[in-house]
Amino acid sequence: MAGQTLYDKLWQDHLVKSREDGTALIYIDRHLIHEVTSPQAFEGLRLAGRKLWRGDSLVATPDHNVPSEAAERAAGVAGIRDEIARIQVQTLDENCRDFDVVQFGINEPGQGIVHVIGPETGATLPGMTVVCGDSHTSTHGALGALAHGIGTSEVEHVMATQCLIQKKMKNMLVRVDGELGAGVTAKDVVLAIIGKIGTAGGTGYAIEFGGEVMRKLSMEGRMTVCNMAIEAGARAGMVAVDQITLDYVKNKPYAPKGAQWEAAVENWSRLHSDDDAVFDAVVELRGEEIEPQVSWGTSPEMVAPVSALVPNPADESDATRRAGIERALEYMGLKADQKITDIKLDRVFIGSCTNSRIEDLRAAAAVARGRSKADSVKQVLVVPGSQSVKAQAEKEGLHEIFIEAGFEWREPSCSMCLAMNADKLGAGEHCASTSNRNFEGRQGYGGRTHLVSPSMAAAAAIAGTFVDVREFDSQRETA
């Protein structure tokens, strides 16, 4: 019999029951909730007179709708100016109280973007099944967990039964071998992967990210890659457990301790694909060939190396794809064959569940240190992913570097990634953003998003246009 993939093992470990109709009941260990996709699920439970199956599997925090601006944030939930947003956050408070669910409230130390606080507190662990009513739940797969986003009906289903009804996905291995060049980051790796396989390339698959490059990435970097598995169409992305994983998890507040830790490590040592495991699809990339990436269009697959030109629709033979490129260029206000480095930025956003961890802020600060944002750039937002990341960054003095560069240092929230709070783009504005989606209107009505890494975003903030951060940093060394 062929060996098992990491996904096969995680699936088997959580299989409650295979049913005759081909579906399976999969047990869920950790259920993260936030204010946007949970209210209708709690309402459903109330209407049906149902209880939570295992209330201590839930962890809640408000992130999507909370203000990032310090003055508005200081007054807590009652201070949220947008009434509809305030009601939604209050509803989360009420539901957590009524159903006795642990919540890291708006200004409590544990609060943050749900996909940042899970791993950093140890609330999400290797070997777990993790779900959340949010597609970027794939992030937690970096720990060697089976983690994916679900809709609100499934949120209610997990609340009431601790299980999901699923069909097993297919296995895909994305292997990135070789070595990354200086200035090339996890974000560039995942954008290059999406550029190669497309936004539907992973549909129906669970993706395991492997190879020398993935093995060398930090946990933060692995989270960035797994976070965007959904942008390649895959609900779940994951990375095998290794020493880097264990070093990261050890001593996290809710990680097992003492003898439990030893038992857990023993259990987790099998969380990798067997050498003879069979994947339904294998995609290979070379690290040396990956340049810093910039998205030019309105889908994450519309991405190019910073040295490239914006594509010309005339070069595309498929009619639907050609129309897509033409529509994207029109929306983005770009011309075919123009240089990526000629794109001028109006705003810059450094944050989101993709790139708001301490390593991301360090990378952006390293570029911003001693420099100032371009006058033509109206605003540069730096939004840490959690209260804990914010505290660590302030301890390291990163916030001072940002403030001196004319960037704004904000409170933990999803912020301009999806612009549900007050942080948004104006119509026609171009934004260098470390977030995950460049869809039309995503960061504000008529806004134009370019997805980049934190160091590329900081460099763009200073130059006012996209620049190759590798050259930008070497300029400083010679100056």
Partner: protein
Amino acid sequence: MKAFTQHKGLAAPMDRANVDTDLIIPKQFLKSIKRTGFGPNLFDELRYLDEGQPGQDCSNRPLNPEFALNYPRYQGASVLLARENFGCGSSREHAPWALDDFGFRAVIAPSFADIFFNNCFKNGLLPIVLDEAVVNQLFDEMYAQEGYALTIDLEKQQIVKPGGESIDFEVDAFRKHCLLNGLDDIGLTLEDADDIRAYEAQRREQAPWLFDAVK
């Protein structure tokens, strides 16, 4: 859940690939704590010429005359013809809620994003995958013939075109069963409560740290 057995309805186009859930229902409407009322804001940024706000009366907003769903010939449509990777992006169930609230009962496309596809079935909205060539032909016929209506029979797994010609489609047996009978799948899963408890007890032995409470 609303049952789906047979439906006959006017077809309308969403003629672009990779329609994401932000496009189906923009984020400002996700602040609602309800499941209903999203229909007037379906495809909001394409449908209207101004920026929509939650709670707003949409009846006086300027409509985009170039957006197909605003054409007189597609008024009352309940079957949406779409292109590849429909529903990609966020997991927001507000997307199928908005399609349902608008009046759509089925979406036909060459492919769907996984989470959206799954969410549809939970809301009595039938997503149907057909070969790209077949979808292309449906688009061509719909554009050529005003009043182009399709009859969808879930029991027979068949779409019948206006001329009487039929197209077979695949659907997962469990989902079909739930949809035909309007079944609540939480109730079905709870029938297996003993199996869930047995799994839990054994798992608690093997990996007790998974059951430690947070905070």
